[in-house]
Symmetry: C2
């Protein structure tokens, strides 16, 4: 008999959904026991529970990001799987929502409406622009697919993979300047690893044309916040849209709150929906229960 | 020799672009002459010039809408072609920009940023929602294509055509209530004709669920403005986005300026780009010059 512990702020919802799935050979526990061998949940709740889970064999996270579990001092004697193919459409909706809000000047038009000013100026277009993706995993591939539907050109920067058919040109290694040159939009979907720390720094920002827009929906560590502030303050960049930050929630005295042409959201670009995550869990549980290799396994060395 | 008169606020740009196209058997005029047989331009400038164009054979408009030339008292002794396959992507960008701004609460998030409030509430999604298109011509077909890329369900209401493969279900005639029932988004791309006058009236609005969003990018005549105001004021509709109005520019005392959950833009959802329109003109000129039937001909009886 497998024993599942749910460690999530939506534990009740997950409990009901998994119970309904009627999975064979499974009991659901509400507290850690010496027999708990499976955990489903949020990384921030799982990490402190490690010590009370001697029989732990498999952790399925409800998130794509797993950086909280990557510290090399933490245990690695279990199989870790994260949530994939769940966040792509949500992230894509966010990215194109903000790209279009930028081009169509939705905030400025709203201000003109409030001032009762008929503003017939010509809005911008996505059509034919160049989008660069930092990171092309399952989320990036989905953003690339929508970018092609909008008739954008797509650059992809990855460690080595070239899997998406919707990326026009791939870049790796030390070709970041070539990747960035001429981009209209730079979108980061990178996971948090040592290799991605401050990858969006003054150097990379200086490669972008001044009309470029930066969007970060990956992790806050990828952005050198001081360098981005400087670029925005000096109008070296048309704007930035940030959903993630070095420290969250953002300190109330952080200069981002009032930086020019910076739009912030609050780590909400792709919230987990228990229904979608439960589908991932159920699929993987059926593999676990029959001894097959699990999908969406995280590589502890690589960090994602 | 064909004689072309350009009647447009962007006449200089059109002149340069057409000269560059080096079309055979064509001279470009700057004022109407007894020999002028072709006119390219904006309907509002063409209409008053009709009397000075005795040899008029063909008018190519720079717009999709041609309602200003449809009055039955106006001449119809020429071939009228409008601009098609030009505005689809622009309109589509506008529609999805505002749909996403609505779901992602871009204006509210911005207000929270200004108030330095970390707002972790879950945004809405397009995924799986139902979009209804009033009018599925070349623009509607493009909006339908993007809707499928975003995984929406698509209802199409047309006079009789069922041409787009991206419409899941077509409706005609007196089935407007069935078309509207259960829609999350209603988008009007209708031309101005007698048949479309106030088609979005209290009846149709009452068929929509209260969480529905209305977008009008067609013509202002399609909306019963008093009925829409009433629906918004009574929260019978989540919101409306209007780019077109009964009277433009909108009167400064019109209640729309301050109506709740109403976003306005200013007939800017699809501005003509001379490069794109010139491509349409060049294509049609080559047909005209060799005696072939022109593309994008307007039917005076139908009105579009």
């Amino acid at each position: 008999m497998n024993k599942l512990l749910i460690l999530s702020n939506s534990a009740k919802e997950y409990h009901a959904l998994i119970k309904k799935a009627n999975l064979p050979n499974l009991t659901i526990e509400t507290t850690p026991t010496p027999e708990t061998n499976i955990v489903l949940g949020e990384t921030g709740l799982i990490k402190p529970a490690f010590a009370s889970l001697p029989a732990l064999a498999w952790v399925q996270t409800t998130t794509a990001g797993v950086d909280l579990l990557m510290d090399s001092t933490l245990r690695r004697d279990y199989t870790l799987t994260n949530a994939r193919n769940v966040f792509g459409q949500l992230m894509s909706e966010y990215v194109f929502g903000y790209l279009l809000a930028h081009e169509k000047r939705i905030l400025a038009r709203h201000a003109h409406q409030q001032a009762k000013r008929w503003d017939g100026s010509v809005p911008g277009v996505l059509y034919g622009k160049a989008l660069g993706l930092l990171g092309v995993g399952s989320i990036g591939a989905e953003v690339a697919r929508m970018a092609k539907a909008f008739n954008l050109r797509v650059h992809g920067y990855t460690k080595s993979s070239e899997d998406s058919p919707h990326v026009d040109q791939y870049f790796h290694g030390d070709t970041l300047p070539q990747f960035a040159a001429g981009l209209d939009y730079l979108v980061s979907i990178l996971p948090k690893t040592h290799a991605t720390d401050k990858i969006i720094n003054a150097d990379l920002l200086s490669q972008l044309p001044p009309h470029a827009l930066l969007i970060n929906v990956g992790r806050g560590n990828a952005v050198d916040e001081a360098a981005l502030l400087e670029a925005l303050n000096q109008n070296k960049l048309a704007g930035a849209v940030l959903d993630v930050f070095e420290q969250e929630p953002l300190s109330p005295i952080h200069p981002f709150w009032t930086a020019p042409n910076l739009l912030m959201t609050f780590h909400t670009s792709a919230m987990s929906f228990p229904e979608s995550i439960t589908r991932v869990f159920v699929e993987n549980y059926q593999r676990f229960n029959t001894g097959q290799p699990l999908k969406y396994q995280v590589d502890f060395e690589r960090g994602y």
